[in-house]
Symmetry: C2
Subunit: 303 residues, 2 copies
DNA sequence: TTGAAAGCGATACCAC
DNA sequence: GTGGTATCGCTTTCAA
């Protein structure tokens, strides 16, 4: 084609605002440049950052994302999955609230690639999750580094895999018999846990690592009510870096960030690669966490 | 067609799991059964409930939703809008964080219908929002009903339209010179506001209506620190019904719910109607709010 | 009542 | 280089 012609066509195309019809194009190429994000996380606590990462990574590739919140309803799940398949999504990313739970839909044997994030996937699938052990090590190590001697861990229900991974990593750093208190993921439990720790009397902890930011917030509040200063007397570290909780607590919370956005990014790129037939190694991938320093854990390192 | 044939076909279709290709179908019908949700609300505070409502209303119609978070980036906004148009969405719902702000993209003159929710739309468009005045009336009235005499309103920045609407409605119930304190949408400000109210000395309020749940939480915490009991001495009502804040405060917060899910439902059905050419009256629609009773506002009505 | 053909919008590939 | 044609999967229309 003559360069001149090419230029002219392009100009006219731009002039009349020509935009190719992605449906027609998809019909032929068998690619819709569309993927689906399936989630049972109502509050979006985990889903939103993951979604942001996916979208950010894929928008450059012209891919759009269907968001399907299915609660824990298998029927609704099936409806959404069918709708997505009808619309010829290039892949599906399944995400949930915990790595040891799965969505109420069977995603095996679908005609499109599936990647799991923060939820249990079919064997032989690609699954992304945060490295809980790493996060806990980060927290406990920091507490040690600033000179805390007696560490305690206040965390969630002991039937969460993440809770075990964190507790184990915590004890590796804090010592075999450092106290680990299991409860619920709530502020209320953070309060109660402090009551217990202080009632026990003997060696009260000077560093508390919490299983999530809400627990940490409860712990901080309870300590303040007892006249214990954070971070002067006791250092507190949370988990999740849920801004709305972590940044608004008094003092603002030092916490562990699971890098969910990066997790989303990788999941997005992976499902895309799978869709294009590029080889991807199956298995569970644990992404490193990150310590976010605010004021609940003395800022001055003991050097 | 013979009934027998019809049945046989249906059976076989089900057997081999036949699913019509929505792309091909859309190519012909000019309907993709897909809509786009555009938002600049990063945390999903408002977007998620709206999204849930949209999805719930439209899933029955076979419609899927593209979620596009564009922050406040006009370039990103344009990319997402173009991508959606290429994919032949049947309509777009624009949503934001406040009714008196608009998305950084021009959505006028698009070839598909646009409905606005919680964000300023083009003139002549359909816009949904919560009735802030109604919510404030609900709160102030309740405080009066339980016998509170001296009401105060602690709210957000005075450059929010919602703040004005609420303050005006509040004063209609509480009295012309009931104190209204403007600040930020944070817990910190709730604390400060109590300091101010209590320092003023004279007639301390016995009922405080807050502009959002975070402020309310700050107010409650500050009151407790001063030895003031909630709800015995002072009743507190929040705004938003953000579960994570409202349900975890001590005591749990009575608050105003903006019915965002219902708002999403209506926006979804409206954009669908528009797309089908059904007539829809343009203009701003204010949806009523709802009082959610928890424990921060004495439960016993004075009858 | 049923089967065949045209066409939706884009692309790949073929002769010219 | 270029124009024409078949094709993707489905719906609609028209003829048999």
């Amino acid at each position: 084609m003559a360069d001149e012609t090419r230029a002219r066509i392009k100009r006219i195309a731009a002039e009349i605002g020509f935009r190719p019809n992605a449906l027609a194009r998809g019909l032929l190429s068998n690619r819709s440049f569309t993927i689906g994000l399936l989630t049972n996380d109502t509050y979006g606590r985990f889903t939103l950052p993951v979604m942001a990462g996916i979208s950010e990574a894929l928008v450059d590739h012209g891919v759009s994302v269907f968001l399907c919140a299915i609660e824990d309803d298998p029927a609704l799940g099936k409806i959404h999955v069918d709708a997505m398949l009808d619309k010829q999504v290039d892949g599906i990313i399944a995400t949930g609230k915990r790595i040891d739970g799965s969505l109420p839909v069977d995603l095996s044997g679908l005609p499109v690639p599936v990647v799991y994030a923060f939820t249990t996937g079919a064997p032989d699938s690609v699954t992304f999750t945060a490295d809980d052990g790493h996060g806990a090590t980060l927290a406990a190590t920091r507490l040690k580094e600033i000179g805390r001697k007696r560490l305690a861990h206040v965390t969630g229900p002991d039937d969460f895999a993440a809770v075990h991974a964190r507790a184990a990593a915590f004890r590796d750093v804090a010592g075999r018999d450092a106290p680990v208190l299991y409860g619920t993921w709530s502020e209320k439990w953070g309060h109660e846990a402090v009551d217990r720790l202080w009632r026990l009397g003997k060696e009260r902890p000077d560093g508390i690592f919490c299983g999530n930011d809400q627990i940490a917030r409860g712990v901080i509040d309870a300590l303040r009510e007892r006249g214990v200063c954070v971070p002067e007397d006791v250092s507190v570290i949370g988990f999740d870096n849920w801004e709305i909780v972590a940044a608004q607590s008094r003092p603002p919370l030092t916490t562990i960030d699971m890098n969910l956005k990066e997790l989303g990014r990788q999941a997005g790129l992976t499902v895309l690669a799978l869709g294009e037939g590029r080889p991807v190694e199956a298995g569970l991938r644990k992404l490193p966490c990150r310590l976010v320093v605010r004021q609940s854990c003395s800022a001055t390192l003991q050097s």
